[in-house]
């Protein structure tokens, strides 16, 4: 077994090109659990913790580029939270402070768990994943990145360098159902973002399908029926119809954390709650 501690992104890509089967280690909060349980044999590891280029973030106009090693604690922190509030809310629900100090957004993407908490937010934001290898950089839209339960679009030798998300003008919500307020893996989750300039509402669901799903019909309904000039909350009939369409978009299964029926019900409740919160007086939807 070898452990390569990469110092630059080029180093990391070169090490991965050399050993395409190597395991990429970022925060370790998923990987080390498997190692400790004896489920994962690691022959070669490429550790990204010391790669400065993967840390930090840049704002370019209305676009935010988050280095893959940005931690959940940083996402939830005072600098980033105002720019992408739903991502901050999602990051804050991940694990505990100890976990959030280590866990990274790149790791959440690479693990591609159906319960990955940042994934529905990234889906709602139409995030773009920057993938890097010795052959260069390519952009993968989020809806093509997560390809199934714990599988992603990375080819051998590739790693995640960054994630780009828009900075939108409008309220955002991330809501999650679990057994308690900390250290909980989502039973169901929902991200709702409002793009006031584009006059649309976008909704994505987590833990109710193999991959994050967008509730497209619900989005179309809400975007059509909202009075954008007044910024008023839609009426109860529209909210109910919206929530029903969100529930229809879910493709949940029964598992040890919950039943399919419960999950469908949960996202319906979350949808109603998120839309009402986003368009409640004081949330600043009106221009």
């Amino acid at each position: 077994m070898t452990v390569t501690i990469a110092r630059t992104l080029d180093d990391a890509c070169a090490a991965l090109a050399d050993r395409p089967d190597a395991v990429v280690l970022a925060g370790g909060t998923d990987l080390m659990v498997e190692v400790n349980r004896g489920l994962r044999r690691m022959d070669d590891v490429v550790a990204l913790d010391r790669v400065a280029e993967l840390r930090g973030w840049d704002r370019d106009g209305d676009e935010l580029r988050l280095g893959a090693a940005t931690t959940c604690a940083e996402l939830a922190g005072d600098e980033l939270a105002p720019l992408v509030p739903a991502l901050a809310q999602a990051a804050r629900t991940v694990g505990s402070p100890q976990i959030r100090n280590a866990a990274t957004i790149g790791g959440n993407l690479a693990t591609a768990s159906p319960a990955g908490d940042t994934l529905p937010v990234l889906a709602a934001l139409d995030a773009v994943v920057e993938v890097r290898s010795v052959h260069g950089t390519r952009d993968v839209p989020i809806d093509g990145f997560v390809t199934g339960v714990k599988s992603n679009a990375l080819a051998p030798g590739e790693l995640i360098a960054a994630v780009r998300v828009p900075i939108l003008d409008g309220p955002q919500e991330f809501l999650k159902v679990g057994t308690r307020n900390a250290m909980v893996i989502s039973v169901a989750s929902l991200a709702l973002v409002v793009d006031r300039a584009g006059r649309n509402v976008r909704v994505a669901l987590g833990s109710v399908a193999p991959v994050p799903v967008r509730a497209v019909e619900a989005e179309v309904l809400a975007s059509d029926r909202i009075d954008w000039d007044a910024g008023a909350a839609p009426g109860p009939v529209v909210v109910d119809r919206f929530a029903g369409l969100v529930a229809d978009a879910a493709r949940p299964i029964d598992d040890h954390r919950g039943t399919a029926a419960y999950r469908r019900h949960a996202v319906e409740v979350l949808a109603r709650r998120a839309l009402r919160r986003a368009f409640t007086a004081g949330s600043g939807v009106a221009a």
Binding site: M1, T2, V3, I5, L25, G27, G28, T29, M32, V33, V35, N36, R37, M42, V45, A47, D49, G95, S96, P97, Q98, I99, N101, A102, N181, A182, M183
Partner: protein, 167 residues
């Protein structure tokens, strides 16, 4: 680390670990290679917080850190908490507060909780209860019911503020 030797500064002391397997967690190295058994090993999945340590000023679960990946880092464990203490017993303010409040029963979660609370008070000398609850949300205690732990945090915060007022 090319030769497999791991350099770690633990509680201010430099260590060269020559016999660690590259797949070992930091917790395993601390406990089994360096004989620092204060950090506890329980869930091995980041759930219980009993292995909480500081690595380069970041509070983390030692069981989820690959030791080889933090070669050259500074680590603080529970054994390092009392080092600069002025009390005769060599206890830090947080340790003393846990004793005074009776916040320790079986003691297994205590080292991790002490690390988390010490870290919290470094960041925020006057945390409200919600902040305290969130700060210790990754440390499971199955004995005390947390009431006395919350009291201990309040005591520790007050005693740290007092200490800073009287130089």
């Amino acid at each position: 680390m090319g030769d497999g030797t791991l350099a770690l500064t633990v509680n201010g002391r430099a260590h060269q670990v020559v016999d660690a397997h590259p797949g070992e967690s930091l917790l395993f190295v601390l406990r089994e290679r360096l004989g620092l058994a204060g950090s506890k090993n329980a869930c091995e999945e980041g759930e219980c917080g009993s292995c909480t340590v500081r690595v380069d000023a970041r509070l983390v679960c030692g069981c989820l850190v690959l030791a080889a990946a933090v070669d050259g880092s500074e680590v603080t464990t529970i054994e390092g908490l009392g080092i600069e203490a002025s009390s005769d017993a060599g206890l830090s303010d947080v340790q003393q507060a846990f004793l005074d409040a009776g916040a320790v029963q079986c003691g297994f979660c205590t080292p991790g909780l002490l690390m988390a609370v010490d870290h919290l008070l470094d960041d925020d000398p006057e945390p409200d209860e919600l902040v305290v609850r969130e700060a210790i949300s990754g440390n499971l205690c199955r004995c005390t019911g947390y009431g006395r732990i919350l009291e201990a945090v309040e005591l520790a915060a007050a005693s740290r503020r007092d200490a800073e007022r009287t130089p």
